[in-house]
Amino acid sequence: MPSDRTQRAPIGLKIAAAAGLLFLHLPILIIFVYAFTTEEKSYVWPPPGFTTQWFAVTWNRPDVWEALTLSVQVAAISTVIALILGTLCAAAISGTSFFGRETISLLVILPIALPGIITGIALRSAFSLAEIPFSFWTIVLGHATFCVVVVYNNAVARFRRTSGSMIEASMDLGADAFQTFRHVILPNIGTALVAGGMLAFALSFDEVIVTTFTAGQQQTLPIWMLEELVRPRQRPVTNVVAMVVVIVTFLPILAAYYLTRDGDQIAGSGK
């Protein structure tokens, strides 16, 4: 029985799909070329020459290091908070039905469904009404809020596949709740949590729209990038930082993909 599934794709479709993917990838590759250019004052293409000197220059820039450290700290703490809140929420939502269940899942998704600028200015106006000064923790507050959803999405998908009878069996056989969590639930949802955590880290590490509203004078790496974009100071350093950021965010995405690829393709299917 000849089926469409065994047929080959029309050539026009192949070209259109390939062109679409090239459109998605070429601009990122261009960043890699620019990181090695010898040109300092403009974005001239093709680069007049290639050098690795800008890596050393960037390495010795304290402002880049400060921004990077702040970003990593914020992302780490936001990820931990998001892991706790997202897992609790996913555990409660899955396997039960109660009044208001839909409302709670909407509540979790809302911070990512509404444009980031709304989240940002809402938090800022709340801070100003409550007279909370900007600090490290105001950044974390914002980041954790929209990171919950990625952990939640991954955990919910895994809980759906985890049979509730295993938990009942464990409890029936005399394990207490803690033991059940440690020996039955955690091994089942572990990789989904790691994947969700990595995506949450990547999301927080890269966030700029909400952060501009909650950061005050502090600079996370994306805010540093934004400053360079608006008022370029040393273009080659920006090129190198951009390339490093691409690599740093690719690794957790790839890891998250490999951790969750069997069965539930949920890791990061939406940001």
Binding site: D4, I84, L107, L123, S125, L141, T145, P222, F250, S269
Partner: protein, 321 residues
């Protein structure tokens, strides 16, 4: 024996109750599933409810305040004056411009994303399927600012795009396009064309995955049946595939539309000096200090998205998410 009997009187189950603090807690949890549910939900609901919903209400509240024109201070009396300001011609312009751009970006995203999603859903197998998935995921997740930066490099006067046009001896085409009203400008990086391209690039990946999910659910035998009944591929596409894939397209369009509407960084870096909603919000809350007007401006995308989501739900788009 008597101790066991005493225990089972309280718990008519097969096993005796667990000993120790953990055991007692476990039993309590097991017997009170509702309380346990409440315990689990309390931290996330408190966090999101207080920090997020609370902030949204604070924002909404501010939009009913107004700024005093003489002192520049915020007058905390309930008024609709700020909402009235939204209907000034310059502000209506901003709203129309933003919604129009978001709609254009959404339509263009659907067109560019469709072949990728369709190929991945129907023809890609095994390794290729994984490659397609990662091929969409990596650009989707890579840094937003780096993507914008890449386009700043591409669209610069001395950048790669002008270089390609020059090499192909097609500079006159580019010049002719830039000479057009509205879409043109002094160079690509300060024109609506540039803004549109960057929006398309940054938000298009969000369209692909929901679209692909919907296309994967289109039964192959329906397409065969359509062909057997004499439909040309074009007819099959329009009358069978597209209607069945529509919920996925709408689901994807929620992202592209919402994200474009709320963006203030892309039009600030690449584009004309005319404002989009996001930039207006940013400008009013920042240097102008007019938080009520900024808040009223954010209500516009919330309302537009509200209608959009209502429409999407009616079309069954949420099942495709």
């Amino acid at each position: 024996m008597s101790a066991l009997a005493a225990d089972t009187r309280h718990a008519p189950a097969i096993l005796a109750g667990r000993g120790g603090v953990f055991g007692a807690m476990s039993d309590w949890v097991w017997r009170h599933p509702t309380m346990f549910l409440v315990l689990m939900l309390t931290p996330p609901v408190l966090w999101l409810g207080i920090i997020y919903i609370g902030s949204l209400f604070a924002l909404l509240l501010q939009s009913f305040f107004a700024i005093d024109e003489f002192s520049g201070l915020i007058n905390r009396d309930f008024t609709l004056k700020t909402y009235g300001e939204l209907f000034l011609p310059q502000n209506v312009d901003i709203v129309v411009r933003t919604v129009l751009m978001a709609a254009l970006v959404t339509v263009a995203s659907a067109i560019v994303a469709f072949p990728i999603a369709y190929y991945a859903a129907r023809y890609a197998k095994g390794k290729w399927k994984a490659a397609f998935y990662l091929g969409v995921m990596l650009p989707l997740w890579s840094s937003y600012l780096v993507k914008v930066y890449a386009w700043k490099l591409i669209l610069a006067k001395e950048g790669i795009l002008n270089w390609i046009f020059a090499k192909l001896h097609l500079t006159f085409v580019l010049d002719a396009w830039l000479a057009l009203p509205i879409v043109g400008g002094n160079s690509l990086s300060v024109s609506y064309t540039g803004t549109f391209l960057v929006f398309l690039y940054v938000w298009m990946p969000f369209m692909i995955l929901p679209m692909q999910a919907a296309l994967e659910r289109v039964p192959g035998n329906l397409i065969e049946a359509s062909a057997d009944l004499g439909a040309a591929p074009r007819q099959t596409f329009r009358n069978v595939i597209l209607p069945l894939a529509m919920p996925g397209v709408i689901a994807g369009s929620i992202f592209t539309f919402s994200l474009t509407m709320g963006d203030y960084i892309i039009p600030q870096i690449i584009g004309t000096s005319r404002l989009f909603i996001g930039q207006a919000v940013y400008a009013h809350q920042g240097t102008a200090g007019n938080i009520p007007l900024a808040a009223a401006f954010t209500v516009v995308p919330i309302v537009v998205m509200g209608f959009y989501l209502w429409f999407a739900k009616r079309q069954g788009a949420f099942d495709a998410l």
